[in-house]
């Protein structure tokens, strides 16, 4: 089993939901594929999607919803063992 982290290329505020009333993009334990959107970074009044570059199981998030993040900061851990 190998684990990977998904990093944010941007600084800003991390959101796990597409809008405040919507369900989270993904839950811990969900199976994801390369390209799956796992969250948004809000900065400069625009929102950028954070996508998985590997497939597998999203083991856990490393930052809270609406937490400020730095560029290059790991936001989630993915395991290749589904």
């Amino acid at each position: 089993m190998a684990e990977y982290t998904i990093k944010s290329p941007l600084p800003g505020i991390f959101y796990r939901r597409p809008s405040p009333d919507a369900a989270p993009f993904v839950q811990e334990g969900d199976t994801i594929t390369p390209g799956t959107v796992i969250g948004l970074v809000g900065v400069m009044k625009t929102f950028h999607q954070i996508t998985a570059d590997v497939g597998g199981k999203l083991v856990r998030f490393l930052v809270e919803n609406e937490e400020a993040i730095r560029p290059g900061q790991p936001v989630a851990v993915v395991s290749d063992e589904v």
Binding site: G12, P71, G72
Partner: protein
């Protein structure tokens, strides 16, 4: 021509000083948020003042060159690589047809970096400037940020690219940017609507001492700062409106700290040109570049009061600093 392979997060064509003299017609100047880095990049490649280059915000830009040119990258470290080799910031290089310049994401403090190409980006001027004004969707390349597939025309270089290459800005003139959660000191003049008429002396003392947090929702239009419960010198805005931050609509200076109710917002170079809220201070023109390197959501600002005369002196010193005679040959 310069071919865009990836536009990155927000890359725009800009020139300095931008579309000036048009505030009365509702046009903000636009131009580079960090004009210090932008102007030095132009000087490094032998471009005259006013030549257009690229503002790269937060990284991600990939471009291919089709001509021999001198280039320079000045500003925040985005791990720039030329044909895969790391590129030194604040230094000019020679590029040839087929060369690829790539920017990764931010590698440290700072938020924007600038690319100058000898001859400049030769997009058509709009109302006297090539600067991209994003809210008005004019200037630059089709009035918008760059995207993959865009082909930018280049002007003819005035200097032999091989001669312009291989120069650097001396280390003493390269600014060091405060890091995440650190404080930028920003020179600003008091007023036009400060104490005692609009705010109390205590309000202004707080303004010039507080460490203001820069909100993540800050961009080239405005930089939002913390909410603060001001004392205010007036009960209401009178004919200007019910809240004491209201005044009759008037013109806003570029770089003004506009206090809308409880929230101060620095009006940046794409900001509104008029409105009906007070401006309790104005960022000195020579300090405006600092805004361009602050990280939304992370940086703090402390305003340092300067007089108008001091602000003018700072500007003269800055103009003398950003000069070819200060470059070193590497």
């Amino acid at each position: 021509m310069l071919e865009v392979r990836n536009g990155g997060f927000e890359t725009t064509v800009q020139d300095y000083p931008g579309r000036i003299g048009m505030l009365s017609l509702g046009f903000a100047p636009a131009g580079p948020m960090d004009d210090y880095a932008f102007r030095f990049a132009n000087v490094l490649v032998g471009n005259p003042p006013g030549t257009a280059g690229l503002e790269i915000t937060a990284g991600g830009l990939v471009i291919a060159f089709e001509d021999e040119r001198a280039i320079a990258v000045c500003g925040a470290d985005m791990g720039a690589r030329l044909n895969g080799q790391p590129l030194e910031l604040w230094r000019s290089y020679l590029v040839r047809a087929g060369d690829i310049l790539e920017f990764d994401y931010l590698q440290g403090p700072g938020f924007r970096t600038y690319l100058a190409v000898s001859g400049g980006i030769d997009v058509p001027p709009v109302l006297g400037s090539r600067a991209t004004y994003l809210p008005g969707a004019i200037g630059g390349f089709e009035g918008r940020k760059l995207q993959a597939g865009d082909r930018l025309p280049l002007g003819e270089p005035l200097t032999d690219p091989a001669q312009a290459a291989g120069r650097r800005v001396p280390a003493s003139l390269i600014p060091s940017y405060p890091g995440y959660n650190e404080v930028w000191e920003v020179e600003a003049t008091r007023g036009p609507q400060a104490d005692p008429d609009y705010m109390t002396a205590e309000d202004m003392a707080f303004f010039f001492s507080h460490h203001w947090k820069l909100d993540a929702a800050s961009n080239r239009t405005g930089y939002r700062l913390d909410i603060h419960k001001w004392q205010w010198a007036r009960e209401s805005g009178g004919a200007g409106g019910g809240h004491p931050s209201n005044i009759l609509d008037n013109g806003y200076p570029v770089g003004a700290v506009n206090v809308c109710g409880d929230q101060p917002i620095i009006l940046c170079i794409d900001g509104p040109t008029l409105g009906g809220f007070i401006c309790n201070a104005v960022v000195a023109k020579a300090a405006m570049w600092k805004l361009g390197q602050m990280v939304p959501g992370w940086s703090y600002i402390r305003f340092k009061e300067v007089t108008l005369e001091e602000a003018i002196t700072l500007l003269k010193q800055q103009d003398e600093t950003i000069h070819e005679s200060n470059l070193e040959r590497s």
